[in-house]
Amino acid sequence: MSQMNMIQAINSAHDIMMEKDPSVVVLGQDVGYFGGVFRCTDGLQEKYGEHRVIDAPIAEGGIIGTAIGMGINGLRPVAEIQFADYIYPGFDQIVSELSRLRYRSGGEFFSPVTIRTPCGGGIRGGQTHSQSPEGIFTHISGIITVMPSNPYDAKGLLISAIESDDPVVFFEPKRIYNGPFDGDPDKPGVSWSSHPMGEVPQDYYKVPLGKAAVVEEGDELTIICYGTIVHVAQAAAKLTGVRAEIIDVRTLFPLDIDTLTKSVEKTGRCLVAHEATRFCGYGAELVATVQQECFWHLEAPIERVTGWDTPYPHAFEWKYFPGQKRLAAGIRKVMEAG
């Protein structure tokens, strides 16, 4: 075991997979010589060479399109898109091509691409460095969508993603790259070294795709969330004194419905939270699923706490971000209802 932050854990996943499987290649803007603007691919080019860790032109559609081609030709590409906010020039290649190659070719063609991209707010990035577009991707049939909330999961899930023969879009909440963040920007930052999930094995291991994690057990309320909000939810639950069971979805698709329903059947109350905008957000799918599976166990309407339905503003970052106060209000609302 060793201490790793999320960047080091992601770097280690690459390293292990590149060592283990010569078909794994990495491409993206500034990922090679420089090691990535967030340093997730630091040192990999030096170790595995310029043919396996490839600096790419600034063309997201080109990065994803060529990654698909490499995948069709037997390689296992890991493509970095510098910010999730810049993934859209590659959107057509993801929606119309990557996600449907297997289907349209009757199973003859597929491309095992992993697309990694930093997402989320909290770094004063304004409307073009703060987005959480995961719900756009979970809406596409044929791809797997992942968002880890800590270094241990990030490494294990990324290894699973790279090994997966189905394409994966892997969102990395950049606000928690260096340490967990409980939603209070005025508190001094904490590092992962004081967090149990910052203990990361140096070797190969997998966290399975499609399995949620119960990060906090409780019997009064189920909070379903992922990414940065997992940490905010923990703090908010503490604030309210409610014995909440907190579930980190981890893999958004395929969704681990069993873990959710087991919990809600036990608690009878449910809150869904994410940083992304609300309308048609991923939370809507979670609410619909819980409603359908657990209707007769519910003692109160399911509550949703999300980012507001506006672009992510630069000046009002902490009024936009669904922090502890907003989550606590949501928790109280579910607890007081019914």
């Binding site: 010589y33 043919h51 600096d55 304004g126 009024k319 936009y320 502890q324 907003r326």
Partner: protein, 414 residues
């Protein structure tokens, strides 16, 4: 794998610890490139995309057919605005370091592009800049205070707190709102120009992207539409040799100049010394004439150098030699214009020192005024209700609800 890998990987001439090497840059002598009439057929002037239009020679004299013969007033105006742009950048870079603003991007070393082109355009021409064109705003008269307030996201912010620093706009002066997404403004500029032609107007559109951004599909859409419809537009590529950590070879600059990108579409390209204000002015005038007279678009590549870091978020010593700028064969654009003015006897070292001091004071005063509108940490603060405005023309009901929820929570203790 059966053979050794043989993918071509572009390599910059020098990395940290190595001696800077610009032997890859093909240079022409000042005055050496012919100046064709502005309505010449594109196929007859392909040489303009490969040679380098230069006016200022090594003795700081203006020479050759592209010499725009600018009078003293314009030259001095250009110098003043370059000094001002650099002083503004310097101040903003420092206040970012002090934590007063969240982010900043300098145009150090590239000032001649914005100032030279800005001077050659008409006020009615619509500008679609990149984030390194602050000189355009300053030249067109946007108040420094207004630019600073944007960077501060304070109560004077023209974007109402919505955008990161340097994402300015100035609708009154015909400058479009900046986007963080690279190259998106390029096809928009072409569309604006098509609009001008559809309406039968003489205004042209002008846009800028960096060398790295030419890889984006939007760059290629723009060229295609501009060429197909012969739109009255000037498309600029500011080749400052670097795109964050990747050198211009990663955008395809190793084999052919960016100016040649439009040749296949029949669109003329001009490669110009991007640190030579006179040459920039001259080629821009040529392109405006061509566009305004209905002869279509021009692509201009400015060969220059990014003198500073990409932004306040990166440290270039990790990927390029520290002394690379000093070795750049085209020098420093501000210094070259200054030397030209000294050579002509229009200016003196004393006057330059006085100008720089006076400019610093102008910038200082502007900063004092800007922070009176608030900073990220000191009031007055922008009203957070603004967050819900302008998503749509009218605030829809669900956003009114969310706004009320925010206000209610803000009033509560946690």
């Amino acid at each position: 794998m059966t053979q050794k890998p043989y993918l071509h990987i572009p390599h910059p001439a020098a990395r940290p610890g190595e001696a800077p090497d610009f032997s890859y840059l093909e240079l022409s002598d000042a005055g050496a490139v012919d100046r064709p009439p502005s309505d010449e057929r594109a196929r007859n002037i392909e040489y303009l995309a490969h040679e380098l239009v230069r006016v200022l020679d090594d003795e700081h004299q203006a020479t050759g057919p592209w010499d725009p013969s600018l009078d003293k007033e314009i030259l001095l105006k250009a110098l003043r605005y370059m000094v001002l742009t650099r002083a503004y950048d310097d101040r903003m870079q420092r206040v970012q370091r002090q934590g007063k603003i969240s982010f900043y991007m300098q145009s150090l070393g590239e000032e001649a592009v914005s100032i030279g082109q800005g001077l050659a355009l008409e006020p009615g021409d619509m500008l679609f800049p990149s984030y390194r064109n602050q000189g355009l705003f300053i030249l067109r008269g946007t108040e420094l205070v207004d630019l600073m307030c944007q960077c501060l996201s304070n109560t004077g912010d023209m974007c109402k707190g919505r955008q990161m620093p340097v994402m300015y706009q100035d609708p009154a002066r015909n400058i479009f709102t900046l986007s963080g997404n690279l190259a998106t403004q390029y096809p928009q500029a072409v569309g604006w120009a098509m609009g001008s032609a559809i309406k039968g107007e003489k205004h042209i559109a002008v846009s800028w992207v960096g060398d790295g951004s030419t890889a984006e599909a939007d760059f290629h859409y723009a060229l295609t539409f501009a060429a197909v419809y012969q739109a009255p537009v000037i498309l600029n590529v500011v080749n400052n040799q670097w795109a964050i950590s990747t050198f211009q070879g990663f955008a395809g600059g190793e084999r052919r100049p960016f100016a040649a990108r439009g040749l296949g579409l029949g669109m003329p390209g001009i490669r110009v010394d991007g640190n030579d204000l006179l040459a920039i002015y001259a080629v821009t005038r040529w392109a405006t004439e061509r566009a305004r007279n209905g002869h279509g678009p021009t692509l201009i590549e400015h060969v220059t150098y990014r003198g500073g870091a990409h932004s306040t978020s990166d440290d270039p010593v990790r990927y390029r030699p520290q002394d690379e700028w000093a070795a750049f064969p085209l020098g420093d654009p501000m210094d070259r214009l200054l030397q030209h003015l000294l050579e002509l006897g229009h200016w003196s070292d004393e006057k330059q020192t006085a100008l720089e001091e006076e400019t610093k004071m102008v910038v200082d005063d502007a900063w004092k005024e800007a922070i009176s509108f608030g900073t990220m940490t000191e009031p007055p603060f922008l009203d957070a209700q603004l967050m819900f405005e302008d998503v749509y023309k009218e605030i829809p009901d669900h956003l009114k609800k969310q706004r009320d929820e925010m206000l209610k929570l803000a009033g509560e203790k946690s």
